[in-house]
Amino acid sequence: MSNRLLTVEGLTTEFRTERGVARAVNKVSYNVDEGEIVGIVGESGCGKSVTQLSVMQLIPNPPGRIIAGKVWLDGADLLKYKRDSREMRGVRGARMAMVFQEPMTSLNPAMTIGRQMSEVMTEHLKISKKEARERSIDMLAQVNIPDPGKRADDYPHQMSGGMRQRVMIAMAMLCRPQLIIADEATTALDATIQAQLLELLYSVVEKYRTALVMVTHNLGIVARYANRINVMYAGGIIESGTVKEIWSKPMHPYTQGLLRCVPRLGEKLRPIRGMPPSLINRPGTCPFLARCGERRENCYREPATELTHVEGQHSTACAARLGRW
């Protein structure tokens, strides 16, 4: 029985826009156990990235604001800390780290990667510069960067995209965090490089028993690596369960639609009609209502159902499927 590492409860984040307040994350609750790999899937604008940025307290404020919810990391209530407080900075990078899609924007172009890595460590850990450099080079070696001693003196622009993303993984792992959040970390890379990196990330988190949250729109990636997945739609988690539960018995019509959108030879695609709803002035009914092929009369009348447990680890937010009406 593994221990609970991260608990997110009722997390709600809003953005002020000109048209009104957009609720990008709506009462999201989920958890991650130690050493577990959790996939968060959904289409663009569903709030999957904003949720993770909220957990890390990296939401630009203004216009964004976390208006409700709780985030516990290993017993510590993270939202009690101010965004830029010393405590929060101690958590970020040291206890949970994030790997973003575009490594070029996360790396300082004017600093060698070795120095950038050492700085992360000297900030969080009490170690000497020399030791920090040694550990950086060791970490670079662990992410299969050839000749790491030499590459540590390279600037980011001297490396290929795949190589830079390896550096990002190495940097995330430096302080041996308990949780890594990979936000579309391999999306921008070519298929064969993507495969290299995913295998690498997988082996690294396995080795150190680091928990991993994979945010992606690629169902293939979560199918291969994740233990459990959360499907997000219009700012909320609408279905959650182990990968096998979701694939063998998808319950929410959106999840079913999403799985049918994947091209398979000899099978006709059945795309989901229409497009996701606006996040401003949400009506309070099920957000998938307009596109749902199985809506009932009650769906129009009743407020949206919360994520409800079904069996095993499986829960869904579809009232019709839960047998409520």
Partner: protein
């Protein structure tokens, strides 16, 4: 529409299923523009000042208490008083009336300079950016050469050679402003050319003129408008400098620069004579720069179609 006999995978039933009526909620571009534009107080101030000056220029004949050219040799260099609010000049002409009429000259010269230079500069810039290669190199090196000459000196030289009054001043100043437009448009064209919609037009067989006029030019307009507004301020300043040096608008026409020059001889005794026209130049140039700044924010293509 013919019905499709190939029912292996696709048929009309699924087809009609997909027809979409929904659009993204419309964004009111004008509303957004106004909101962003009037966000900063200095921009509002600049805009208000320009509107005020435009009104003054339009109604100069009504507002001005005296004829700006009427001399009164019994009442020269008068201090401000009930009749002559700002006093009179060495020939007894009412300073306030002359400054008020000066707005017309300033605006007329500014607008025509900006229009001439923008039109010519845009055409040259479009050609340079679209042609690339040798022609572009030649045009751009010439532009660089033109830029290397201090604008005021260039304007003085051209104005002296032409020596034909207002049109000469306009032309001289337009030449000094040209490089700015050429470089701006050249850069715009170079980057817009990489856009897929330009490539798409080429794959359709669109002629160069069509690509330039329908696809590239309309997308250059925002930065062009900003540049033109900014250059209004610059040309008003340059015109004043030229007139101050006696090369611009010739007396007795009431131009702010020449007013300042006339008053400059009495700077220690009657400072208002040169300070008031100087302030007018400053205020107008400043207003145009502020409005240009506001336009730059409001026309930022990154904000188009967004709501924040």
């Amino acid at each position: 529409m013919d019905t499709c006999s190939n029912d292996v995978t696709f048929n009309d039933a699924t087809f009609n299923d997909v027809i979409e009526e929904e659009l993204l909620p419309p964004v009111n571009e004008l509303k957004r523009f106004i909101k962003v534009f009037f966000k900063r107080k200095v921009v509002i101030a600049g805009f208000a000042l320009i509107v005020l000056i435009l009104i003054v220029a339009a109604l100069a004949d009504i507002i001005a208490p005296f004829d700006p050219y009427e001399q009164d040799l019994h009442n020269t260099l008068a201090n401000p008083n009930g009749a002559n609010i700002l006093g009179t000049d060495a020939l007894g002409r009412d300073l306030l009336s002359r400054v008020i009429h000066g707005t017309r000259v300033a605006l007329a010269v500014g607008v025509s300079t900006v229009l001439v230079s923008a039109a010519v500069g845009t055409i040259i810039g479009l050609i340079a950016g679209y042609a690339e290669g040798f022609l572009q190199s030649v045009i751009m090196r010439l532009t660089d050469a033109l830029m290397a000459i201090p604008p005021l000196i260039l304007a003085i030289i051209v104005a002296t050679i032409l020596n034909v009054g207002v049109p000469g001043v306009v032309l001289a100043m337009a030449i000094t402003l040209l490089p700015g437009y050429i470089r701006l448009i050249n850069g715009q064209v170079m980057s817009l050319k990489q856009n897929d919609y330009v490539l798409a037009a080429e794959t359709m067989g669109a002629k160069s003129t069509r690509v330039l006029l329908r696809h590239i030019l309309p997308n250059c307009l925002s930065p062009l408008i900003v540049q033109m507004t900014m250059m209004m301020g610059v040309s008003i300043l340059t015109e004043a400098s030229l007139s101050f040096l006696g090369l611009g608008i010739k007396p007795p026409t009431a131009a702010w620069g020449s007013l300042a020059y006339d008053g400059y001889k009495y700077l220690l005794t009657k400072p208002l004579l040169s300070i008031v026209p100087g302030l007018a130049v400053m205020a107008l140039a400043f207003s145009f720069n502020m409005v240009g700044d506001g336009l730059r924010d409001a026309l930022d293509p990154k904000l188009r179609g967004t709501s924040s």
